[in-house]
């Protein structure tokens, strides 16, 4: 079911969390709401879920105006950053909660919970309590619980934010696969551009309560709409009014007609990728991204003098 947000505004006291936000989320997509903390992305998700009342605007689910409908009647599944596990219930009871509340027949609940625990790979832990699970397991339980009621829309509020880097990476890939299987319209809120690009097919960049750009990960990276998006979706060098991605800075040992001289200050090896921090003779600092091979050819090391030239630069008209 597609989601349409029309001119939604939300204030907390004097603070404007959402400022006239309109977004369309296509049915069956996996969309990321990406933005720094305090940008309003979580508030937007909570408005869609019905956990927060907007001061103005509308929320439509599959074409129905649900703005005044309470969360329990919206058919959304929600996953919270801190799991929101029902601590006094076992994993099985947690997943069964939504079905029990809906007074589904016992046999159906039994089957459905079993099926979901299998889907999230927690079959063996059904009798455990949340306190006996790891963070990753808890979050998978929370996801199974949200999916149990066959939601039209799945909303994930920084779902992997409380997990360590390795588990986060695993769960991202797993979520991607899960979405390919279940096809439920999904929104994931995140402040991590890498996470958004890895998981989502569409990204909505939000800043200061406004939508900055909507697009595929590729579109955001290659043709950012403005300075904010450019610097938020990846590392960037700013030289005066022009912006250059570290990947688009070419280095050579020989001077060229339009290249400038720079000194290597630091070289960071990240496996396949090598990052070089440079300083130009006019004092401008630059970050360059190379492959290991390129770095080897240049014999890149601290103190080396190189000639730099942006191969591709972006200027935003103000």
């Amino acid at each position: 079911m597609g989601i349409t947000v029309v001119e939604v505004t939300k204030k907390f006291g004097d603070f404007v969390a959402l400022d006239d936000v309109s977004v369309a989320i296509p049915e069956g997509s996996l969309t990321a709401l990406l933005g720094p903390s305090g940008s309003g992305k979580s508030t937007l998700l909570r408005v869609i879920a019905g956990l927060e009342d907007p001061d103005g605007g509308q929320v439509l689910l599959g074409g129905d105006d649900v703005t005044s409908r309470p969360a329990r009647a919206r058919g959304v599944g929600m996953v919270f950053q801190h799991y929101a596990a029902f601590k006094h219930m076992t994993v099985w009871e947690n997943v069964a909660f939504g079905l029990k509340v809906r007074k589904r027949p016992k046999a159906e609940i039994e089957n459905r919970v079993h099926e979901l625990l299998e889907l999230v790979q927690l079959e063996g832990l059904a009798k455990r309590y949340p306190a006996q699970l790891s963070g990753g397991q808890r979050q998978r339980m929370a996801l199974a619980r949200a999916l149990a009621v066959d939601p039209e829309v799945l909303l994930l509020d920084e779902p992997f934010g409380a997990l360590d880097a390795r588990v986060r990476k695993e769960l991202r890939a797993w979520l991607r696969r899960l979405h390919d299987e279940v096809h439920v319209t999904t929104i994931i809120v995140t402040h991590d551009q890498e996470e958004a690009m890895e998981v989502a097919g569409q990204i909505v960049v939000i800043n200061k309560g406004r939508v900055e750009q909507v697009g595929t990960p590729r579109e955001l990276y290659d043709s950012p709409a403005n300075e904010f998006v450019m610097s938020f979706v990846g590392p960037v060098n700013r030289i005066g009014e022009t912006f250059v991605r570290p990947r688009d800075i070419s280095l050579s040992l020989e001077p060229d007609s339009d290249s400038t001289e720079a000194m290597v200050e630091r070289v960071v090896h990240l496996g396949f990728e090598v990052r070089a921090e440079l300083v130009r003779d006019d004092g401008q600092h630059l970050l360059a991204q190379l492959t290991q091979e390129e770095a080897q050819v240049l014999e890149l090391e601290r103190g080396l003098i190189v000639y730099v030239k942006p191969s591709r630069e972006t200027v935003f008209t103000r």
């Binding site: 879920a49 329990r72 929600m78 601590k87 909660f97 949340p130 006996q132």
Partner: protein, 302 residues
């Protein structure tokens, strides 16, 4: 090392002199002449009536204060409304006010010339009867459940309740299946404290009861009257009744010890979000065994 022993000895000595010796003396004097006189003293009709009345008042006051305490706690923590701060302060009034003042206030309200004195003309007797004594008891034991529930409600936050809501639970279902189980130990502990206060109340009840022997005399009042009537010379009755009160208090303290570790184990997985599962489990087990040292160990583990 010496300092540590001195500290322990000092603390123990202080408690012994101030608490254990006086209470122990009551037990000693009660059973000084054997079990029989003591038994006779607490099983005479007047004493039994006092015990019965005390229990009845507690049986009315405690459930009312529990229900009110939970509702008020939720209102204070989960809702924003004008006058919330004032309400929060008023709840503590019974703790700050001397019970005698409470009794006097009720006396002024329902007694001759009081605003609600008219009630007695319509056959509703408040003063010098069960309703007045119950009102006084409710007043003085009101804050305990609220004060136990509020911090726990704050601690658990709204995540679980909101999750239940998105899963289709109506507000009351969420309260019954999510909120109430999460605060159950705080409520239990509050109930224990309320009960202790309700059973032991003297000052406020003393004023509104009129202290009619065999009619409006609760156990604490009975202790006082026995002490007065024997001029303090051979107050076996007073001592024996005191022992009954002390035993009830002892049971209350034991009940508290049963609830406390559990409350701690329940609060801990919340604090230790994403923490190691094993610690919370061991705390829960330790809580069941009621062993203080193990609970402390688990706390350090987190």
């Amino acid at each position: 090392m010496t300092a540590r022993y001195a500290l322990r000895f000092g603390a123990l000595g202080y408690l012994t002199m101030l608490l254990l010796v006086p209470v122990g003396l009551v037990f000693y004097r009660t059973f000084q002449h054997g079990l029989h006189p003591a038994w006779a003293a607490v099983t005479n009709p007047q004493a039994l009536h006092a015990l019965w009345l005390t229990l009845i008042i507690a049986a009315i006051a405690v459930p009312l204060n529990t229900a009110f305490g939970v509702v008020l706690g939720i209102a204070l923590v989960r809702h924003r409304f004008p006058g919330r701060g004032l309400l929060n302060a008023i709840v503590d009034l019974p703790l700050a006010l001397s019970p005698v003042v409470v009794g006097l206030a009720l006396y002024l309200l329902y007694g001759t010339g009081g605003w609600l004195a008219g009630l007695s003309e319509h056959g509703i007797k408040i003063l010098f009867s069960l309703p007045g004594m119950t009102l006084a008891t409710i007043f003085v034991s009101l804050p305990f459940v609220v004060r136990e529930v509020v911090p726990v409600l704050r601690e658990i936050g709204t995540d679980q309740e909101q999750a239940a809501e998105t899963l289709g639970a109506a507000p009351f279902t969420t309260f019954r299946r999510i909120t109430l189980p999460a605060i159950r130990w705080a409520v239990s502990y509050g109930v224990v404290l309320t009960t202790a206060r309700a059973i032991g109340e003297f000052g406020a009840v003393s004023i509104v009861s009129g202290r009619i022997e065999g009619k409006t005399e609760t156990l604490p009042l009975y202790v006082q009257s026995q002490f007065d009537s024997s001029l303090g010379i051979n107050p076996t009755g007073a001592f024996a009744a005191s022992v009954v009160l002390a035993l009830i208090a002892l049971m209350t303290v034991l009940a508290m010890r049963l609830f406390r570790p559990n409350a701690a184990s329940l609060a801990m997985p919340l604090k230790g979000r994403g923490g190691f599962a094993g610690t919370a489990v061991s705390t829960r087990l330790a809580g069941r065994m009621g062993s203080e040292s193990e609970v402390n160990d688990s706390k350090e583990g987190l």
